[in-house]
Symmetry: C2
Subunit: 462 residues, 2 copies
């Protein structure tokens, strides 16, 4: 990506060097060539490498309006650090200027004593609104929305509406869709700034507004919020309460982070990592939290692996007579796990992108059956030849491995296709520990298939 | 998510019933209660369940302007199907009305003969532009952008600019940021519609425009495009050619799909599924393409598993003397794979979200070391007790498993943390087959650790 200044890393190095010399003004001058998001990124690095003090001094040297923008781009924990290092007066300024939804995000991150110190200085009306917003559950549409939107009445003309917009100003993204409300605060329709700008001044808002609009409820989960934005491609979606009163809007820029967060959660669940209520960065999460998030499913899988072990021990007579079979056990178990995981991942992704539907189960299984036969035959042939030619084992051993291999791949693919769909059917997240679950089950089944096939082909009683 | 009409599924059922009776008008009336994105979703289902003919008849009954919107929301393959089923006149209408970037997407999906039939009827200027756009590499910024943007001159006043915007109209998202160009087509600055609307009519564009803007190059990869949108949170970003001439803009709604696509690619790579040049839906991809995408890494892993098998066979004397150890082999190998995969997934995600940086490698390893000791001790104790109390094995066997377990978990976590960072360091995608690679290596190492520990503790010569 090109930004206007393509020398990001070089300039960051320069700034750090200036800061180490104490040449703050020079550092600031280089910094000021960048847009707020870039300055925030640099400050993050400075904070990490040179420590809080230098980063805060530099932050305080930014022009006031720039500093608010930069602040809104910083990650939550850095915001909290900065808030604790600057004066009350500076805090008040930043809080006053921040967009409402950013303000709520900051307050959610701060320690309670600082929050109450800030709220004390906030005008009563806004304080009530903040408290209301802080009460929406984490991850709900309510916690993502901002109450800053343009409200119009349906009897306004285009000229009235534009004059109103000019008067209230309103920041950034929130201006491009305007909301028409009844006297009872219920949402009546939506009109875009585009429509207002290209329409005749004398037209009435009621004739221009769209009444077939999409909306969200304050208690909708953020996953549904992300779905709605992906599906409709709107810049903003209004959020209403249970009485259909307009309480806020969600803008697309805030949804990009949600999409990232939801995907990350899915991926982590797939490998059996439990999420915290509030997602923290990898490095910010303490050792014991990491242990707590990872241990439960590891214990579960350990039990499954113990069962596999016991199953294998049932075939002790087979193994002790043909000890070379032990060397092929990982091959069968590993192939089962790998092929099953591939299928499960494709299906989980397909389900979450709505490419695959529950009613497609038979199509999925039919496809996986054919794919697994092709893959199984190729892998079997490969292994058979290796066992005969390189390991110099008798053909019967090769045949045992080859036949087991086809059966294992077929089982793993069909199981890997069924499990996520079954999970979805009973209302469980299909991503939930898919990888470990599949490898545990295929381990068991693969070893039984292999040793059972061996006992039959080699004529050894179990 | 609530849309205005909350009875999506019920209404879809109704529409299908009407269609089966041939009551098309009734079906259309129900359909018309929905917004374009919803109608498109219903048509997709109708196409799948009732076949092309009924879906096309219904599509043709939509009011013309609605039909274009609906068309733009349909997936590429359904668009191609519909284009082939409607008349040239209808095609011309849809093509004329589609946003330019949607038009390019449609043309990319269509068979060559239809594309040339469509291009024949396109005015020469537009045809040249279309050909130019069709030439940008798949997945480049050029292939995502639209040439439909508002161009202003810096000597315009706000009143001039607004009058110009009103005159050219311009669709949907593309209107909210206006681009100021030099006479030589080079990009000079950006001014938002918001700024124009809230500023005095007599002000000059040159005084209002932002000259510190972020831009992309036509050949930037779509991953960089997505990064830029996530980082800056803009509604649109201008795209320039190598001479810094403005050639188009990318709007945020087109980037949401890219984010999905890139994440899907990452996830699939993690489990060793190769992507096609053009991502197709799971069900649309043929059996042999599925085989082709999955086979290469499976073969690679098979070789790794063969090596593991040979390593295990080196310990034949240990295994044949204490055959019960075979039953604990899957436990050690499985635990190694599971714990290693957990760590690798967290690190890959951290890297792709920029939460973890290459220079954090020692922090990562230090954290994983502590986490792995905690997890290793808990898992070991659990296994030790189970082996003594339930399996009734001698304590030395339990100790062998317990000690190996701690070593395996430590190795797996440190390896799972190092591998993705090493991959990134040498410029390989960290997600590339992370899961299979890690389980292959930990399989080998785990079995060697286990059997080596056993041979020492149990005093058996290898």
């Amino acid at each position: 990506m090109d930004t206007k200044n393509q020398h990001f890393d070089r300039d960051l190095g320069k700034i750090m060097a200036y800061l180490e010399e104490g040449a703050y003004l020079k550092a600031r001058d280089v910094l000021m060539n960048y847009v707020a998001a870039d300055i925030a990124e640099m400050l993050e690095d400075i904070l990490e490498d040179l420590g809080m003090d230098k980063a805060v001094i530099l932050f305080r040297m930014l022009p006031k309006d720039v500093s608010v923008d930069v602040f809104s781009y910083l990650p939550g924990d850095d915001q909290a650090d900065i808030i604790q290092a600057i004066t009350d007066r500076e805090i008040s300024y930043i809080m006053k200027e921040l967009d409402f939804d950013d303000k709520i995000d900051v307050l959610e991150e701060l320690p309670a004593n600082i929050v109450s110190r800030i709220l004390e200085k906030t005008p009563r009306d806004e304080r009530r609104l903040i408290n209301e917003f802080l009460n929406y559950p984490e991850g709900s549409a309510g916690s993502l929305m901002t109450p800053e939107y343009i409200a119009l009445r349906d009897d306004m003309t285009v000229a009235d509406a534009l004059a109103h917009i000019k008067r209230v100003g309103m920041d950034s993204e929130t201006i491009y869709l305007c909301y028409v409300k009844h006297a009872d605060r219920k949402l009546e329709g939506i009109v875009s700034l585009r429509t207002l700008v290209i329409s005749d001044d004398s037209k009435l808002v009621s004739d221009l507004m769209e009444t077939d609009y999409v909306y969200l409820n304050v208690y909708d989960d953020q996953e549904e919020v992300a779905e709605a934005f992906k599906k409709y491609g709107f810049l903003a979606i209004p959020v209403v309460d249970n009485e259909h009163r307009l309480v806020g809007i969600i803008t697309v820029d805030d949804v990009m982070d949600v999409i990232e967060e939801e995907t990350t959660e899915d991926i982590e669940r797939m490998v059996g990592v439990m999420g915290d209520d509030e997602r923290k960065k990898y490095l910010d999460l303490g050792v014991f939290r990491h242990v707590k998030n990872r241990l439960p499913w590891l214990l579960f899988m350990t039990v499954a692996l113990m069962v596999t072990g016991s199953l294998i021990n049932q075939f002790e007579s087979v193994l002790s007579q043909v000890i070379v079979l032990v060397g092929y056990l990982p091959l069968l178990m590993g192939t089962g796990g790998n092929t099953g995981t591939q299928t499960a991942t494709l299906i989980i992704r397909g389900l979450s992108l709505d490419e695959v539907d529950l009613k497609d189960i038979f199509k999925v299984l039919w496809k996986e059956l054919r794919v697994s036969i092709c893959l199984g035959v190729v892998l079997s042939a490969f292994n058979f030849l290796k066992i005969i030619l390189i390991d110099q084992q008798p053909p019967l051993i090769g045949l045992t491995v080859a036949i087991s291999m086809i059966l294992v791949v077929m089982f793993a693919k069909l199981f890997g296709g069924t499990l996520p769909m079954a999970a979805k059917k009973i209302g469980v997240d299909p991503a939930l520990m898919a990888t470990p679950m599949i490898s545990s089950v295929t381990d068991m089944v693969s070893s039984v298939i292999f040793l059972f096939t061996a006992s039959i082909l080699l004529g050894i009683a179990i």
